[in-house]
């Protein structure tokens, strides 16, 4: 049972930080930035490469994350801001194009083979009936701390309030003395950092390859939208829900019902089922599960 929870959390952690980043950027820029998943890949790969050339793990991680954040800001400044002037679907296609360039860059720099941190192999620790390894615990901790810091920032500081104000009404935010351009830069930086941390968290647990970004795209999208785009903490809940459903449907043994020992739903259908859940949830709450905004006339 506890193992089951660990499995759910582990999968959710992989999605959460990137989904938060996507949702946060969406709230201010009003377009789903596909390149975010590549920031996650960049974070993970960069940290591994840095460790390989001699940096201690912690230093490698910090550098990778900060660098990725800066890359996110620079791309936003030079590309996405200009694309957004044309329209949000244009910006989205633009971010896809940026993702392709990222793939190309990865392909020439690190090649298609997976890589991982050089960490001592640790025997899993037993907690109740679950087995967890040390790097996994570290990766949990990173995700938890990142979430906590972001929550404090978003809900408890003036900066967070200003971000939320900018995301609901940019013109009025400007008229209230908020530097909306800077808010956007900050949110882009934060999203880049969050995505990179997400990538690092994945890398710590195991291995990353250059496809990891594009592989994350759909589940991250699903999480962000299930929680309600523009509501970063909805994305967390969305990620948890998606992984819960995926895990539940694959661990229920239908065998006894059908008079056989083990009959599982084919795992291939796990993601299909979580997508169907997404559709059903949106039929019920069209703006995501955790958006309580009223749109009135």
């Amino acid at each position: 049972m506890f193992q089951f929870l660990v499995d759910v959390l582990m999968r959710a952690c992989d999605l959460m930080l990137v989904a938060i980043g996507m949702s946060a950027v969406y709230s201010l820029m009003k377009f789903p930035n596909i390149a975010l998943v590549q920031y996650a890949a960049t974070g993970g790969i960069l940290a591994i490469v840095l460790q390989k050339i001699g940096a201690p793990v912690a230093v490698a991680i910090v550098f990778a994350v900060v660098l990725t954040g800066l890359v996110a800001v620079i791309l936003n400044e030079f590309l996405f801001n200009r694309m957004l002037k044309i329209g949000s679907s244009t910006a989205m296609i633009g971010s896809l194009a940026v993702s392709l360039v990222f793939s190309a860059a990865f392909l020439v720099t690190v090649g298609p083979n997976p890589s991982r941190f050089r960490l001592p192999v640790s025997k899993p620790i037993r907690i109740l009936d679950a087995r967890i390894t040390e790097p996994q615990l570290v990766s949990f901790a990173i995700v938890a701390v990142a979430l906590g810091v972001f929550a404090l920032l978003y809900f408890r500081t003036d900066l967070g309030r200003c971000m939320r104000a900018t995301s609901t009404n940019e013109v009025l935010a400007d008229a209230t003395g908020i530097n909306t351009a800077r808010m956007k830069t900050i949110i882009v930086l934060i999203s880049g950092v969050m995505a990179a941390l997400g990538g690092v968290a994945i890398a710590l647990k195991g291995e990353v390859d250059i496809q990891i970004g594009m592989d994350l795209l759909l589940p991250v999208f699903a999480s962000a939208i299930l929680g309600g785009l523009g509501n970063p903490f909805g994305a967390v809940a969305g990620a948890l829900l998606i992984s819960l459903v995926e895990t539940v449907v694959t661990t229920i043994n239908f065998g006894p019902l059908m008079g056989q020992v083990v009959v599982f739903l084919p795992v291939a259908y796990a993601s299909a089922i979580s997508f169907l859940l997404l559709v059903a949830a949106l039929l019920w709450r069209p703006r995501g599960l955790f958006v309580s905004e009223v749109k009135r006339v």
Binding site: R164, T168, A175, T176, I178, S292, K295
Partner: protein, 239 residues
């Protein structure tokens, strides 16, 4: 103090909406801008606030040139309060958060004090303090927007139709409140209005715009007194 000299402005690469407008609003005075729909009143306010960049001409606030200063800096440096005509609230935030945001540049103590007095003045908002602004009725939004602008004790107040959609009683209260702010804090108030009579009653001077230029300017009382003016620009002689 707001000084606008020979400002021309328009949207995108469209034609000029403002064709060389000049006006001044001195501290402690209420200046009302009147004019038919689409003559450029809101554009003028947006221009002063910095949302529309003038194509020619100058804007000064408290004697300082601010023509190309971005909005948020104007708001910070010259304590500008702005009530837009539409989209005037932070829809997904609560009423209290909306008002507090208006005062985010103030000392915390001052802000809370002002917050309490404002809610005292607008009981209909006080009772909806923790409700999302998106649920408010049209009139309630109008009040909220005004409260948000007033909390910071602005020295320049730009009001785009503050009385639109208010009940007669509320409209009266709002104009009283504006007159009251003028008396106590002495900001320069520039107000666009369609409810001309009520607005002129509390104003010191007025400009009537027509197709992006000033057609008439004068003291509010003179405009009210002139019957020709009434029928031509103020909607007939009904009062």
């Amino acid at each position: 103090m707001i000084e606008v000299t020979e400002v021309r402005a328009g949207y995108g690469d469209g034609p000029d909406i403002l064709n060389g407008i000049s006006l001044t609003a001195e501290p402690g005075r209420i200046v009302t801008i009147l004019g038919p729909n689409g003559c450029g009143k809101s554009t003028l306010l947006k221009c002063i606030a910095g949302f529309v960049r003038p194509r020619a001409g100058h804007i000064r606030m408290s004697g300082e040139a601010v023509t190309d200063v971005p909005t948020y800096l104007k708001v910070r440096n010259h304590r500008v309060g702005f009530v837009p005509q539409t989209d005037n609230v932070f829809a997904s935030m609560t009423v209290a958060e909306n008002i507090m945001l208006g005062g985010r540049l103030m000392e915390r103590r001052d802000r809370e004090r002002r917050f309490d007095t404002l809610l005292g003045q607008y009981p209909s908002l006080a009772s909806k303090k923790n409700r999302r602004a998106s649920a408010l009725s049209g009139g309630e939004r109008q009040l909220l927007s005004l409260a948000r602008a007033l909390i910071s004790e602005p020295s320049i107040l730009l009001l785009d139709e503050p009385s639109a959609g208010l009940s007669p009683r509320m409209m009266h209260d709002v104009f009283e409140a504006i007159a009251d702010v003028r008396r106590r804090e002495g900001p320069s108030i520039l107000m666009v209005e369609q409810n001309a009579f009520e607005a002129l009653h509390v104003s010191d001077s007025a400009y009537v715009l027509s197709f992006g230029s000033v057609a008439i300017e004068g003291a509010a009382s003179d405009l009210l007194a002139d019957p020709a003016m009434r029928s031509l620009y103020l909607g007939g002689d009904k009062h």
